[in-house]
């Protein structure tokens, strides 16, 4: 019999058991598009996490006064506020990263992870629990982004976070395929296959 999740589980679930990208299969677009290198991937994860944490907390704060029928537009406004903030912050302080992420920064507003968590969790739980949930999902998302970004960068450029980690002969002819969209699709397919295999054997 499963008891109501403890506070710690709100956080821990988001990392593995309910990992947003590999288990819940939401928020795929920015994951595939921006995981070209480990640093860019983590940058995107950080931006998304900022919005996720912010919106979860605010939605949870105002949940008692928001009428059910208009809650989705209200969520959208809250989320877009945070997205606009991070948009301009990145433009000002991390212009290189902003150029790489491009249109995907404003697109955080339609990232299913954020709207999904606001609707499924923050609207029904207290502020601290929503914060934990957001932190957990952010950690999970960051983990996936780190893995994808690292694999793609190592295979396609031979570096990790800009540092050379492969022999020189590899770096002269790396697997450029991984930088392009086909590489991203293939990588996430293999990752999902591995996850399926691991979860199946646990059952």
């Amino acid at each position: 019999m499963t008891s109501t999740p403890t506070r710690w589980q709100y956080f821990a679930d988001g990392i593995i058991k309910e990992n947003p990208v590999l288990i819940l299969m939401i928020g795929l677009c920015p994951t595939l598009a921006t995981s070209v290198s480990a640093r860019d991937a983590l940058g995107m994860a950080a931006a998304t996490s900022f919005v996720l944490i912010g919106s979860n907390v605010v939605v949870s704060l105002i949940r008692k006064v928001v009428p059910g029928s208009v809650r989705i537009p209200i969520f959208i406004i809250v989320i877009s506020t945070f997205v606009t903030i991070i948009d301009y912050v990145l433009q000002a302080y991390q212009p290189a990263l902003y150029r790489v992420l491009g249109v995907f920064v404003p697109l955080i507003v339609v990232n299913c992870i954020i709207l999904g968590r606001a609707e499924a969790f923050a609207y029904r739980h207290g502020v601290f629990d929503s914060l934990l949930d957001a932190l957990g999902k952010s950690a999970g998302y960051g983990l996936v982004m780190l893995v994808m970004g690292s694999v793609r960068e190592i295979l396609a450029a031979g570096t990790w976070f800009g540092y050379a980690v492969t022999p020189a002969w590899f770096r002269t002819a790396p697997v450029l395929f991984m930088i392009f969209p086909p590489g991203a699709f293939l990588l996430i397919g293999i990752l999902k296959g591995i996850v399926n295999r691991l979860t199946a054997s646990k059952v």
Binding site: S80, P106, I190
Partner: protein
């Protein structure tokens, strides 16, 4: 920019799903059969064109003159959400056939990053209203091409012998990788590099 190049660029060279990674969630969610894919494509074409017009007008007539450019994220997504709901009501009342055909896909489009993405790209590329329309139509057609092609492949995958952990999403992603590889071949077609 040459209208033909805009269309071709949006349709093939920079295919919205397979090259730009916008609209990937519905791409995998809806492409299980060809019929649902056609329905979704129709809905996307419809909403994307309308959203492009309304967002372009709002941006150039309201936000730019008033110096409220930073509100574009909030404004665009609100407009799209409201538009989809309004269109749903109009269709339900006056064009019942289309409403039944589009079914549940209409409300699903609100969070489709392809729609919002195109409205932002129109601003970034500084398109005129006509160019934006062409871009939206070309993009929707590219969406339709990718999703219908992929649905046909997935229908075959259903009956093929695949190892259990790869059934479903994983093999679909691998399939998408191969289709995307094919589309990579369109790079620099007609000298387009949009």
């Amino acid at each position: 920019m040459d209208p033909a190049k805009i269309l071709m660029g949006a349709f093939l060279v920079n295919n919205i799903i397979l090259m730009r990674f916008l609209g990937v969630c519905p791409f995998f969610g809806v492409s299980t059969t060809v019929d649902t894919s056609v329905g979704m494509s129709a809905a996307v074409l419809f909403v994307m064109t309308l959203a492009t017009w309304v967002s372009w007008l709002l941006y150039h007539v309201l936000l730019l003159p008033l110096g409220l450019v930073f509100l574009r994220t909030a404004v665009f997504i609100l407009v799209i959400a409201g538009l989809v709901q309004f269109v749903e009501m109009v269709l339900k009342k006056y064009v019942r056939g289309l409403y039944s055909a589009l079914g549940i896909y209409l409300p699903l489009i609100t969070t489709n990053c392809a729609i919002l993405g195109v409205t932002f790209l129109n601003i970034d590329y500084e398109f005129s209203l006509l160019q934006s329309t062409l871009f939206a139509v070309g993009t929707s057609l590219g969406f339709a091409l990718a999703i219908i092609l992929f649905a046909a492949i997935r229908e075959r995958l259903e009956d093929s012998p695949i190892s259990p952990s790869f059934k479903g999403y994983p093999i679909a992603f691998v399939g998408a990788s191969l289709v995307s590889l094919a589309f990579l071949g369109f790079t620099s077609l007609f000298g387009i590099s949009l």
